[in-house]
Symmetry: C2
Subunit: 243 residues, 2 copies
Amino acid sequence: MAQQIYIVGIGPGAEEMMTAQALSALDASDVIVGYPVYLELLGERFNGKEFLSTPMKQEVERCRMCFEEAKKGKTVSLICSGDAGVYGLASLMYELGVEYPDCEPVVIPGITAACSGAAVLGAPLNHDFCLISLSDLLTPWETIEKRLIAAAEGDFVIAIYNPASRQRPDHLKKACDILLTKLDKTRACGYVENIGRQGTAAYVCTLGELRETQVNMFTTVYIGNSLTEIIDGKLVTKRGYQI
Amino acid sequence: MAQQIYIVGIGPGAEEMMTAQALSALDASDVIVGYPVYLELLGERFNGKEFLSTPMKQEVERCRMCFEEAKKGKTVSLICSGDAGVYGLASLMYELGVEYPDCEPVVIPGITAACSGAAVLGAPLNHDFCLISLSDLLTPWETIEKRLIAAAEGDFVIAIYNPASRQRPDHLKKACDILLTKLDKTRACGYVENIGRQGTAAYVCTLGELRETQVNMFTTVYIGNSLTEIIDGKLVTKRGYQI
């Protein structure tokens, strides 16, 4: 039987926001592999486990490490923040998996930032929505631009991941300018910093105000659809119930 | 201080796929309100709690029930399957909340079907994606159609909720026909039945084959983007890593 490798979504980081299934997988593991920042989020419960990591941009090496450790007979978990299948390493594990027929990647879902952040803001994702990452490390900017326009034309709520980084501080402003060609500047928006970690902060604003806002890489941004409103300070997308 | 009402996403249903935060909220509650099918998913752990429900299409009454119980001084949780903020009752609770200034809705996120189903299929959502519900109970079909076209034009992966029901058995076929005006019939797709419950089953297929498939209301459907492939029976959307 193939040796299973768990690809575990740990949610925002706090143990109380992981599923019991995720915790069981980590408990059962000899080795936990992950990006250093995420390994640090794991609590005392996992003291004594072997922790392995690679730096940013060495995701292929990090995944190969999982297969190599599993081949030694160890039980291995690869952790990703949020959900391992949402901008995480699940797909890369399946791509590499063809080289390791004795190993079987198994994805254990977690709460992705779109959902954990939405809960802090209110209910912005309560109808059809899409997720768009503004990181152009692996995706051409033209593709990102095309998706922003399509999302606006489809009247989707939009959750934006990776709205900024040190290398691209102005991506959110560029994205807002694209959206403003289709949407009014009064469109209801919001953003959440440090979801589920120390210093969680949520803000609601208009699309015009969002354009002038400097966010950091630990921020998830929400652009409402035509039915989204700010109700008592919460960002709420109505579903259409008659009340 | 306002009386908090928990709006709890219970994930697919099994306790091991809830977060500790969700379980704590339910443990702390005197009353658990929900659609009868979801109340039945809760295990023995919650024996002794007061369970209240309303039938389908009485969601407004169900939410009002929460506020009325909270006003009596009881601790109340409203449960929703998946994530309470994704096609759940979170937004309706905020809408009604303005009538109950002494109560404060608090959303506790859960694993939405897009994520739990994706984990069973492999890694279909591993890049920008959108969620579209095919239910036209509260949304005009023209809006759904517009969103399907926008999603295809934006090269999003699409997760489809409510692909069918007894009243609308052919909605998935209609949706596929719309998508086939933009996408090739060989586009990689998949679907999962009864996610996280007894009888979980996952299938991969092409968009052309999906059009001919009769699904039921307990199915979540995935349409890949231009980078989605079927690898060893798993539906995998590549992120662009060079391996």
